[in-house]
Amino acid sequence: MSILVNKDTRVVISGITGGAGSFHARQCMAYGTKVVGGVTPGKGGMLFDDKVPVFNTIAESVEKEGADTCMIFVPPAFAADAILEAIDAKVKLIVCITEGIPVKDMALVKSRLEHKDCVSRLIGPNCPGIITPGECKVGILPGYIHKPGTVGVVSRSGTLTYEAVWQLTCLGYGQSTCIGIGGDPINGTSHLDAVKMFTEDPATEAIVMIGEIGGDGEQKAAAWLKENCKKPVAAFIAGTTAPKGRRMGHAGAIVSGNQGSAADKIAALEAAGVAVAPTPSSIGETLLKKWGKM
C-alpha cells in the first residue's frame, strides 16, 4: 500500500517533447511508471520514443488512454494553464515540476482547486514529484536512492528530500511513498495534507517531514499530528542560519509574524512530540531513534 500513486497509476506527461520533459519521461519509464501518453499542442499523433502516443490536449489522453495522473513539465509562463487544463480534464493527480510560476497565476489555480466540482489534487509546483518505491515514480527524483518500505516522507525541498531518503535507504529502511510538495508560497498539497494521508495509510509506519523557513505549513501539520497521529514522526527544518528578511518584504513579517522562522517551527514540532533532527545529515538516525529501531 501507499498513497496517491502505485503500480496501476496511468501517467500523461504535459511537455513530453521538451528537454527536461523528455529526459525525465524516459527516467520514469525506466523506473517502471506506466507512461500512457504525452501532451504537446501541435504534435498530436506522433509517437514519443516510438511507443508513447502524443496528444494535442490532456483531455484527449484521458479519453483515449485513461490517464489519471498528469506530470507537468511546461515552462513557467504556460504552467498554470497546463494545470488548469488538467483540472478541466478531471485528472485525479496533477504533479507540477515547473519552477518560477508567477504567484498570481498560482492564486487563481488554487482557487480552482478549491472549487466544489474539482476532482484533482495538485502536488507542487516547483517540486520534485512523488514516488512509491518499486511501483511508480512521477517526477524527477532519482529512482535508485529509494527502496520499498514503510516510511512516509514529505518535504518542501527537492534535493533535501533526496538527502533524507538516501539516509533511510542506507540505514536499511525503505519508504511507502515520498512526496515533494514544492517550495512555492502557494501550492496544491500542504504538509498537513500529506501527514494526514500518511497517518491514515496502513502501510506507512513512520513519517519524516522536512520543512524550511517561511509560512506556517509545518506548524499546522505539527498541531494536527499532536492530536491525531500515533506513528513516530521525525522532522528537519532548513534555514536556521539563513539571513532574515532576504525574501520577505517589510510587511510580509506581519502576516507570518514569528511563524516563518526555523526556531518557531522547531518549537512547534517538538511541542507536538516530533523528533527534530539537529542536522540534515541525521534525519534518518533521528527517526530510527524515535521509532525505537536504534
Binding site: P76, E163, G183, E212, G249
Partner: protein, 394 residues
C-alpha cells in the same frame, strides 16, 4: 524586484492614487530646477534608496536623516549633503547604500497618519490588505504590541476587491463620511488594481495621511514585484536600478543562479534552495561559517556552473569550497564538467570538498577523479561539511 519611492509614486499616479507633487534630481545642477516645479514654503528632501527606515537613517559622514523637511531656500543645500553620500538605515546593513537620486516633494499638513499594505498571503491564497491606525510606525512592532490597531481584509483572487471590503476598511479608518468614502474608494481600488495588474508582491503606504483639509494622500510608497512575473511587464523591467543590487548577485542571476553573499569564509555550491540552506546550517553546526547561499537550480548548464564556481572563488574572504550536489533535474556530470571548466579558466587556489550524489553521479565522480585537480571527496553531507570546516580552520 524593488523600485524607488519616486517610481512607485508615478505608478500610484497612473492608478489614480493621490500623492504629493514631487520632482527628482540626479545631479546637483538639477536641484533648483526640480524644486522650482513645486509649490509651498517648505520642501521635503528624500534620499532614494531601496531600503526602509530612511528618515531615522544616518549618513556615513555623520549627517543625520535621509528624509528632511526644509525651507524652500535650504532644500538644495540639504540635497547636496545627501546626493552621492552613503545612507545607513536599519534595513541597509552597516555598509549602507549610495544615494544616486534625490526626490523633492511638496509638504502636506498632516491631520492623521495611517498604515496600509497589500501583499500575497500564502494561507488564504490571495491578496491580504493590512490596515493600521498606527501610521508612520514600525508595523512589525505595532503587530507585536498593539494587534488591535491592525485590521486585515482577505481578497479572493477571482472576485477581486469588493465594495463591502472597501467599506469595512473605510469604517476602520474613520473614512465613513460621504466625501471621504469617495476618496478612499479611489485610493484603495487604485492600489489593489496596481497590486494585481502589475504582479506586485508588496504595495505599502506608510504613512497614508489625511491632510488638515481632508484629503487622503500617500506620503510614502513602497512597491515590490514578483520576480517570476516580471517577464510580462516590460514597463516595470525598465524601472530596475542595478546600482541598488550586489554585483555578484546580478552576475549570478544572469545565469539563473540564486546567490546571496554572506559574511563567512566557506563558499558553498548546492542544488536546490532547501539543501543549500541545510548545507549552510550544517557548516555552522560543525563550527564553520558559510560565505554564501548558492542554489544552482535544476536546469543549470555547464556554462552556468562554471560561472557559479567563478563567482564563489573570486570572493577574497573565501578560504575553502564545499560542493554539495544531490542530482534530480540537475545532473552530476554537468556539474562536474562545469567545475572542471572553471578550474581550467581561473585556477583553484583554495581547498575544495565535493560530494556528488543522484542523477548521473557515476559519470560526475569519474570526471572529477580523472581530471587530476586537487580535491577531497565525501560520501555524505556530514562528512563533507566536517572535512571542509577542518581544512579551513586548520
Amino acid at each position: 524586484m524593488n523600485i524607488h519611492e519616486y517610481q512607485a509614486k508615478e505608478l500610484f499616479n497612473n492608478y489614480g492614487v493621490p500623492v504629493s507633487k514631487g520632482a527628482i534630481a540626479q545631479k546637483p545642477e538639477e536641484f533648483e530646477q526640480a524644486i522650482a516645479k513645486l509649490e509651498g514654503d517648505q520642501i521635503v528632501v528624500k534620499a532614494q534608496i531601496h531600503a526602509g527606515g530612511r528618515g531615522k537613517g544616518k549618513f556615513v559622514d555623520g549627517f543625520e536623516g535621509g528624509v528632511k523637511l526644509r525651507p524652500r531656500a535650504e532644500a538644495a543645500a540639504t540635497a547636496a549633503k545627501m546626493l552621492g553620500n552613503i545612507l545607513v538605515t536599519k534595513q541597509t546593513g552597516p555598509a549602507g547604500k549610495k544615494v544616486n537620486t534625490i526626490y523633492f516633494t511638496e509638504c502636506s499638513d498632516i491631520s492623521k497618519e495611517y498604515y496600509l499594505s497589500i501583499l500575497m498571503d500564502r494561507a488564504s491564497g490571495g491578496a491580504v490588505i493590512i490596515a493600521s491606525t498606527a501610521g508612520g510606525m514600525d508595523i512589525e512592532k505595532v503587530a507585536a504590541e498593539t494587534p488591535e490597531k491592525i485590521y486585515k481584509v482577505y481578497v479572493h483572487p477571482e472576485l477581486g476587491l469588493q465594495p463591502f471590503q472597501m467599506r469595512q476598511l473605510a469604517f476602520f479608518f474613520g473614512f465613513g463620511e460621504k466625501e471621504l468614502m469617495k476618496q478612499w474608494s479611489k485610493v484603495i481600488n487604485g492600489l489593489y488594481r496596481l497590486f494585481w495588474e502589475k504582479d506586485c508582491s508588496l504595495v505599502e503606504v506608510n504613512p497614508l495621511i489625511l491632510t488638515t483639509d481632508n484629503k487622503i494622500l500617500a506620503l510614502d510608497a513602497k512597491v515590490n514585484f514578483d520576480d517570476n512575473a516580471i517577464y510580462r511587464h516590460p514597463d516595470i523591467q525598465i524601472l530596475r536600478d542595478l546600482t541598488e543590487e550586489d554585483p555578484k548577485e546580478i552576475q549570478a542571476s544572469k545565469f539563473g543562479l540564486n546567490y546571496i553573499a554572506l559574511d563567512g569564509n566557506i563558499a558553498c555550491m548546492v542544488n536546490g534552495a532547501g539543501l543549500a540552506m541545510a548545507t549552510m546550517d550544517i557548516i555552522k553546526y560543525y563550527g564553520g561559517n558559510p560565505a554564501n547561499f548558492l542554489d544552482v537550480g535544476g536546469s543549470a548548464n555547464e556554462e552556468a556552473i562554471t560561472e557559479a564556481f567563478k563567482i564563489i572563488t573570486q570572493d577574497p574572504h573565501t578560504k575553502g569550497i564545499l560542493v554539495n550536489i544531490f542530482g534530480g533535474i540537475a545532473k552530476c556530470d554537468i556539474i562536474a564538467q562545469g567545475i572542471l571548466n572553471a578550474v581550467k579558466n581561473v585556477g583553484l587556489s583554495i581547498p575544495l570538498v565535493v560530494r556528488l550524489e543522484g542523477t548521473n553521479y557515476e559519470i560526475g565522480r569519474k570526471l572529477l577523479a580523472d581530471s587530476g585537480i586537487k580535491l577531497e571527496t565525501a560520501a555524505s553531507l556530514a562528512e563533507a561539511a566536517e572535512k571542509i570546516v577542518k581544512i579551513v580552520q586548520g
